[in-house]
């Protein structure tokens, strides 16, 4: 049931864009996105709900394709502060538990 994230790692230059994908084998109720910097706790970015989309940040947005059972996180004009590991978390039923993917490590270089 664990979602699959791709790519596993990506290296960017400042100002470049990136897309991180999260795919599920089951229908999704909602998708969470979190960023975790090394040695720190995961920090919430945004939630996407079935039938809707909630944007959390200016240059970080996400989409939720219910048919394809996947979500994508878009980082535009990346900044050094965007570096970290990005996790998607999925709920496959309303009262269920949040299941995290294995993470995508993003490194932004000057």
């Amino acid at each position: 049931q664990q979602p699959v994230q791709s790519p596993q790692a990506v290296i960017l230059r400042e100002g470049e864009d990136a897309v991180i994908n999260c795919s599920s084998s089951k229908a999704l109720y909602s998708v969470h996105w979190y960023r975790q910097k090394h040695g720190e706790a995961p920090v919430f970015l945004m939630i996407l709900l079935k039938g809707g989309e909630q944007k959390g940040h200016e240059k970080i947005s996400a989409s939720f394709n219910e048919k394809k059972q996947q979500s994508s996180l878009y980082l535009t004009a990346s900044q050094l502060s965007y570096s970290g590991t990005y996790f998607c978390g999925i709920l496959i039923n309303q009262g269920g538990k949040l299941i995290f993917g294995q993470g995508t490590e993003l490194s932004v270089k000057p």
Binding site: A41, P42, F44, G89, G95, I99, F100
Partner: protein, 116 residues
């Protein structure tokens, strides 16, 4: 507002010893989660509480792990006896009454456990 508090920050023990972790969630948050994060992996849910009742503990190794949430506030997670494969960061998180469907999770800084 104060965040999720966890202690200790680090713990080193030998295999077969016991260890306990403590978590104090954000005030008013009814839902509390314990996650295990092995190096290089995503967090894995061990147990979820709604107030002081268990909602999900399907992935908690109950022969060695136990958790409680007295009075629906603080929580402790215990491992007895510890195994080498228990080495991980143990994250506590909390969310408001409606839970993860609609609400973000607030994570604590975690307890890094090393079992030697």
């Amino acid at each position: 507002e104060a965040g999720v508090a966890q202690s200790p920050r680090y713990k080193i023990i030998e295999k077969r010893q016991s260890v306990a972790f403590w978590c104090n969630p954000i005030s008013g948050h009814a839902t509390l989660y314990w996650y295990q994060q092995i190096l290089g992996q995503g967090p894995k849910l061990l147990i979820q509480f709604q107030n002081n009742g268990v909602v999900d503990d399907s992935q908690l190794p109950k022969d060695r792990f136990s958790a409680e949430r007295l009075k629906g506030v603080d929580s402790t997670l215990k491992i007895q006896p510890a195994k080498l494969e228990d080495s991980a960061v143990y994250l506590c998180a909390s969310s408001s009454l409606r839970g993860a469907l609609h609400e973000k999770l607030f994570f604590g800084s975690g307890t890094q456990l090393s079992v030697l």
